[in-house]
């Protein structure tokens, strides 16, 4: 029997891993800069909304535990291959490869700013990506060790910098300003759309659930604790901003976290914040490469991606996925080097797909409660359909307010529609001719479970069915 290698700490660090990216530090600063410390209220609402998603995904994971990658299989068993391919390829693979690429290029700039060496900034990205890729190829336990360390340093640094600000221990000038900048409660509520980004991605712990000890308890608990750690840490940072960074400067800054570091501790604070941003990128890349490789492996096992993505090395790592995802992220880091505006727009489009997968997860829960009402669930979201319904409504609201700029919002929806159409055509032909399945018919759960076994394809290939 395969030994379970990971504990609760690794689930928390993986959950924290993808969520805290540099872009989150920017959103945090800009959100707080707009409404003051009441932004914490918006953060609480956004955190609770993400908790409903974590709850639904945990219930799905309890129904289909130990399945490779997870996520794709839940929708396959509830809605069929077409919605699964559209949402997973658009929401997870493309969106995260794009966003991790942009994050990696931000890392390069941060490093180039801190280290005064005549090296092209992309070299820093390349070195970081190679290290992350090699770490992931060694195995899930090495991934987790790196992730634990990075998450600990990241969270520790941010909490410490926040506390220095709260207790006015910084070397900079203390700012006297109103705590609340919002003119009405509605303004705070509208900021939940910004705050939502601070918590998205905790479900990347699900692909490692097969390697987690006592996964029934540790996976849902770890993801929930991960979100709470993020909430606490970011609330401390907002309170720190209050004493050292003028709200308007924070809102207007392109890198508000660096501004806070500088105003708090001068040059040393800026370097420390650059270090924090670098850790955030490494953490995002590490979680992204690991999670996406396992999601890809799971999709390949379901024949939703080429079989090559299911191949594993002797340590059980889907190495083709790890290498190709790392290479794709590096490619986008290279492309976005200096032209990140367009890619950031595309990330927003990808994020709509990501949020659609969240809505699908809530719908999956409701469908499976109908289909398998008596199946033992080691975790079940309480209060019947209430929380999945809140999740569906809340996430739809986030999609609706994806951007504060109306023109950009309409463009996002338009591009989302076109991308969905293109992905839909691809998914239709792939399902029809490669998977040889009805495109919109849910696959029975026992068949989804069987497809996870590598013998499923071996014996079919032997018989000439594949």
């Amino acid at each position: 029997m395969e030994e379970k290698k990971l504990g609760l700490g690794s689930v928390i660090s993986t959950s924290v891993g993808l969520v805290i990216a540099t872009s989150c530090l920017v959103s945090l600063g800009q959100g707080a800069g707009s409404v003051g410390i009441v932004f914490i209220g918006a953060m609480v609402v956004a955190c609770l909304l993400n908790m409903t998603t974590i709850g639904s995904l945990s219930e799905l994971n309890a129904l289909m535990p130990n399945i490779t990658g997870g996520l794709a299989q839940y929708t396959l068993a509830c809605m069929g291959p077409l919605p699964t391919i559209i949402s997973m390829v658009g929401g997870y693979l493309i969106c995260n490869i794009l966003s991790s690429g942009v994050e990696a290029s931000i890392f390069a700039y941060a490093m180039a700013e801190v280290i005064p060496l005549p090296i092209p900034s992309i070299v820093y990205t390349a070195v970081m990506m190679i290290v992350v890729m090699a770490t992931n190829l060694i195995g899930v336990d090495m991934f987790a060790k790196v992730q634990d360390l990075v998450a600990f340093l990241l969270v520790g640094s941010m909490v410490l910098m926040g506390l220095i600000g709260i207790f006015k221990l910084g070397t900079g000038t203390v700012v006297v300003q109103p705590a609340n900048m919002a003119s009405s409660p509605a303004e705070v509520i509208s900021m939940t759309a910004v705050a939502f980004w601070l918590f998205i991605g905790a479900e990347f712990a699900i692909p490692i659930s097969g390697q987690v000890k006592n996964a029934k308890r540790n996976v849902p608990l770890g993801m929930a604790l991960g979100l709470l750690v993020i909430l606490l840490m970011q609330a401390i940072m907002v309170l720190g901003f209050y004493h050292y960074t003028p709200w308007d400067a924070l809102a207007e800054s392109a890198a508000p976290h660096m501004l806070y570091g500088e105003l708090l501790l001068g040059k040393a604070g800026k370097i420390w914040m650059a270090f924090v941003a670098a850790l955030a990128v490494i953490s995002t890349q590490n979680s992204g490469v690991n999670g996406l490789a396992y999601i890809g492996q799971g999709m390949a096992k379901m024949n939703m991606l080429p079989q090559i993505f299911a191949k594993t090395n002797k340590r059980g790592v889907p190495y083709i996925g790890v290498i190709s995802i790392s290479a794709a992220m590096f490619l986008f880091a290279y492309i976005s080097d200096g032209s990140s505006g367009m890619i950031e727009f595309l990330i927003l489009v990808g994020s709509v797909f990501w949020m659609i997968t969240y809505i699908f997860a809530h719908i999956d829960v409701l469908i499976l409660r109908k289909k398998l009402p008596h199946a033992p669930r080691s975790f079940k979201v309480p209060c019947g359909p209430l929380f999945p319904l809140i999740g569906i409504i809340g996430t739809s609201y986030m999609i609706f307010y994806i951007s504060t700029d109306l023109h950009e919002r309409l463009m996002i929806w338009l591009i989302t529609g076109v991308t969905m159409l293109v992905l839909g055509i691809y998914a239709f032909f792939w399902t029809k001719y490669k998977m040889k399945m009805p495109v919109l018919k849910a696959v029975p759960i026992e068949k989804v479970m069987a497809m996870d076994n590598e013998m499923y394809y071996k014996i079919r290939k032997k018989r000439g069915i594949w």
């Binding site: 080691s378 759960i445 014996i459």
Partner: protein, 116 residues
């Protein structure tokens, strides 16, 4: 004759036994009998990934865990057994619950709940 006792028979594969044993211990189950058996369910012993069902019945090695417990504990025990054995895959097992007329402990001659 109502003895207030019930028999729970659990047929499952070998992979979850250690965890199940530990969980039953935590629930205060004081005795169990474990037998290695051969059997199959409605799939006639076909593997989960098989293309078609076996024509002939194939008996697979399983284990049967027999427990005799107070009837009021049956619900809790069955819930824990279900949660522990569940993987979602074919072959997770079956649980049979039946009422028992009496239990007699040979060494002391105790009967019913006292005999457990």
């Amino acid at each position: 004759m109502a003895s207030g006792l019930s028999k729970i028979e659990i047929i499952t594969n070998f992979t979850k036994f250690a965890e199940l044993q530990s969980e039953l211990g935590h629930l205060g189950v004081r005795g169990m009998t474990v037998s290695q058996v051969l059997g199959c369910g409605i799939q006639k012993g076909s593997a989960e990934y098989a293309i078609e069902e076996n024509e002939e019945i194939v008996l697979l090695p399983k284990q049967m865990i027999t427990l005799v417990v107070e009837t009021e504990k049956v619900h809790d025990i069955v819930e824990v057994v279900k949660q522990t054995l569940y993987t979602g895959h074919i072959g997770d097992g079956k649980i049979f619950v039946s009422s028992l007329d009496n239990v007699i402990k040979v060494r002391t001659g105790d009967e019913g709940v006292d005999a457990l």
